[in-house]
Every structure is written in structure tokens, then in C-alpha cells.
Amino acid sequence: MANIDTLSARQIASAVASGELSALEVAQAALDAVEAREGEVQAFLQVTPELALAAADRVDAARAAGEALPPLAGVPVAVKDNMNLVGTRTTCASRMLESYESPYTATCVQRMLDAGCVPVGKTNMDEFAFGSSTDTSAFHPTNNPWNTSCVPGGSSGGSAAAVAAGEVPLALGSDTGGSIRQPAALCGVVGMKPTYGAVSRYGVVAFGSSLDQVGPFGRTVEDVALAMDALVTGGHDRCDSTSQEVAPVFAQHLDASIEGRRVGIIPSFMEAEGLSPEVRSAVESAAKALEAAGAELVEVDLPHLDAAIAAYYVIGPAEAFSNLARFDGVRYGYQEPNCRNLADQSSLSRAHGFGAEAKRRQMLGAYLLSSGIYDKYYYAAQKARTLITADYAAAYEKVDVIIMPASPQVAFEHGAISDPTQMYLSDMYTISINIAGNGGMTVPVGLGTDSGMPVAAQLVAPAFKDERLITFGAALERAFASDGAPIMGVAPAFSGKGGELA
């Protein structure tokens, strides 16, 4: 029979619903694939066979009892390790939380479970989501399935790699400055960051509270649409003041026509220093494909985009300092032994519990919020945010979506970028979307002509018009693949390894 990695989430759900496959068979195949592939990918920090098999049993029992199955019943899902799930540790890939047992389950994870998903494990990430390579994980790096000497991107690198390696069809990530869209681009999978507020943040360990947003990875736009429907089913989360009602109708927008609709291109983005020629030509070919499908290409200008990176590296660290202040080793987390007083215990627990980048961001944030500095930098950053948001709003007067790169380059080798401030530039195309709060989606379009590594385009849409990402993403998929197959599929080195369906 087929390998689990050839099936999309939709195909698995319909096979389970029809009885063609049992959820247990699916779960076992997924666990088998993970077992066979993890050695080289190292996408997971924790694999959860007990949870997966128990969830699969429940699905099968429900079906046997004649109950209606939820839409993603039996679909294996991987969850980024900054999301609480009872029965797992939530480590944020940090020594600080190495043995932290989740006391509750995040709303986004619960909604995937409510949709029938089977949790396979918790995925690797940059420590506390600070990074674009997953190399800052305190436990181990994750390898890019397309070339294991390269990074998968980050910070949700484990989730992207798990999907690209065919270990799971769906995974959840979080995106504060590109942490879903950049690794999706580097791993050749679809990754979506919905509008801020569309998905509840409750239970997701915060990095930048005004920037963080949860979203799905999949190998097809359809799977991402189905996951989005699961994430917003239930509406506003009463546990998250900033969450808003979004209708679970993403999958209904897969086949909408783009005929006569307008796609924006930002010329300065396409000519930016640091954009590699192969990524540029990939984005151009994606734009042309949309044009060929009937859309009109329109140049738009976002005059204040140059402020986005600086604004992000003010707001992000400031919020991160504040959010990570709670990790003092008292209520949870690493506690330095044998301290003579509380101040020593806090300072040493934090010094030894956090890795270098986590400490750097918090130090920068503590400085930026200090008296006399705060009003210069923080206010300026939030004013730039107002201008950038207004720029996007003005652009959307003219266009339905904008197309741009997701990452300036393809995946780089482990350790290739060692300077932290250089690393920050790899988010240059994703950051402004978090600043403005609207949604964006990475769609892979093939392999780079120079590197042979995945290249991708990023679509961005107005706030709470995330269904347009599905529509235009599906149009790209139709242009670059055939018959609803994924554009890229599973990375060849991993395709078919383990995961045979009995």
C-alpha cells in the first residue's frame, strides 16, 4: 500500500472517515516515518506515541460507534514546542524549561485536537523563538530535509522540516517576525501566518505579544486551509483578549477565481540588496504565473518599509524582555541550586537557563524600555508601525494581495551566519507583516536554479482577508503543480523512508 508521506491531510481524513484507513494505522505509520527519518532531520524534541495512539483510538472508537467524525479526524499533527499540550513538556528548546510539564493545553492545540488531529510530537525551534535557523535550540539543531547540512530556517524550523521530510502532513508554528514563513520557504512547504488575532495565542509561550501569531504548515494549500478552518472554529477565544472572530471558511476559497484581480509588486523589494537572483527570479515567475491565470500585476510603493527591521528589533526585544521576566526559577523552570539569596538564585537561574540569544534579546529589551531610552526608541518604533500599517492599507486600495519574497536567500549551511545582527536581516521580507499585523503565506515554487534548494514566494493580504492567501496560493499551486499534487512534495532523500501503511 501507499506510504503515509504521499497522502495529504485531506486524503488521510477522508480515508479515515470512509473506513479505508483506521486512525490507528495512520498514527502507527506516522510514528514509523518519524522513527525512520528523525535521525537525519531531528525535527522533534519530543515524540508522543502514547498521546498519538490514544487519540487515534478515540477516533476509531467514535467511528465504530457511528459518531460523525470531525474534519481532520486521524490526521497526524506536529506542534511547535512553545505550545502547551497536557501530557508533554513545553521546553521552548531552552534549558530553562527542559523539564517543564505543560499544566494546560493551548487553545490552538486544543482546536486541532477537537478537529480530530492526532498529536505526534513537539517540534524543535530556536530557543524561545529567537532566531531564523533553529540552530539556537539548546538541545540540537534541525536539518533541512533538502540538504541536511543546511538549516531549515526558523524559528519554527522543526515544524517546517517535519512536514518537508514527510513525517507529518500538518504542523503548527508561530510567527513573530517570519518564523513560519521563512522556514516554510527554506524547506519548500506551505506556511501561513494569519492576521494577528485570527488564532488564539492562549497557551503559546509569548515572545512578542503584539507580533506573535500561530499558523499551520502543510505540503498543500488545501491542507493549510483545512488547518486554518480548524484553528478558527470556535471563534473568539475568551482566554485571549486580542483574539477575534473569524469564519471557518478558508477551504471554500481554494477554487475562487483570480481572474481580473490585482496582485501588487513592490519594486524596491525586488531590487533590494541581499536578495539572491534565484529567489528573485522565482518570485517573478510566480507573479507571471498569477498574471497568466488572469490576474493583473500592479506596482505598489510602501514608503516606510525601510523602518520595519529597526521597529521590529525595538518592539520585539522590549516585549520579549517583559514576557521572559517571569522565568526566574521560582514557580517553574531551571533553578540554580545552593544560592544564598533570592537575587543570586534569580540571576544565576536566568544566566544558566537561557542561551546566548535569549539573553541578548532580553538585555536589549531591558535597555530599550529604560527611562529616557523608552520614549526615544519605543515610541518611534510604534509610530513607524502606524506608518507601515497605513502604507499597507493604501496599497490594498489598489490591489487584492501583494507578492514578494519570503526569505532573501535559500537555506544556508549550519553556522554560516554567526553574527546575530546579520542573522536579523534574513527576516527582511517577513517582519513588516508582523509589524502591520496582517497575514502572509509562503508558497514554494520550485528549486533554485543556482542552489537546487527550495525557493518560494510570499503572498500578503489585508488584515482579516486571509482567505485571499488561500485563493491566490491555490492559484499558484495550480500553476506550478498538476492535479492538486503539492508543488514540492516530500524532500526526495526522505520520501518513502518508513511510514508504509500496512
Binding site: 539569596n341 531591558a366 526608541y377 518611534a380 545582527t421
Partner: protein
Amino acid sequence: MALTETDVRGIADYARIALEGDELAQMTSYMNDAVDMLEPILAYNLPDVDPTFHPIGGLSNVMREDVCDSERGLSIDAALDNAGSSRDRYFRVPSILGEGDEA
């Protein structure tokens, strides 16, 4: 007006992050690089632009009713399980002032 090691030490003391060995020098160098990178933002301190603290459109007045939510409550075991140190039903911290060496 670069940040000195003394400045950085002060921030680290405040942020409860002990810097050991050459970490202070490295952190100082990083902080100055980062602050240089952020310099362009200073041009945006414009008097006629309002800051956006919450990227949530016009969302305001989000409140909940004053009703007990016992479902979310944690048992004493769940509350204390992740703590590095506890005594009876309490979380425990070492001496706050510490062996005569006031922090």
C-alpha cells in the same frame, strides 16, 4: 555615546542575568551593534503620528464577566509540580536579603 560595560552591567543586574567571564564584553559589543542597527528608527519620532501599541484595529473594551472559571484552576500538585522548591502548600524561595550580604 556608546554603552559602556558599566552600563551593561547595570542593565544585567536589573534584568537578573548574571554575566560571567567574557560575557560582559561580548554583551556590550552586541548591545552597541544592535543599538547602531536601530538608529534609523529615531527618525520616526514624528510629532503628528500616533503610536500603534495594539495592532488589533479598533478592538477595545474586551472584558469578561465576573464569573468563576473553576475549569482553569490548578490543583495544588499541578501548581507546585514545576517548582524548583516548595514547602507544604507553598512555593519556596531562599532568604531574600541573604546572609547579611544585601543585594
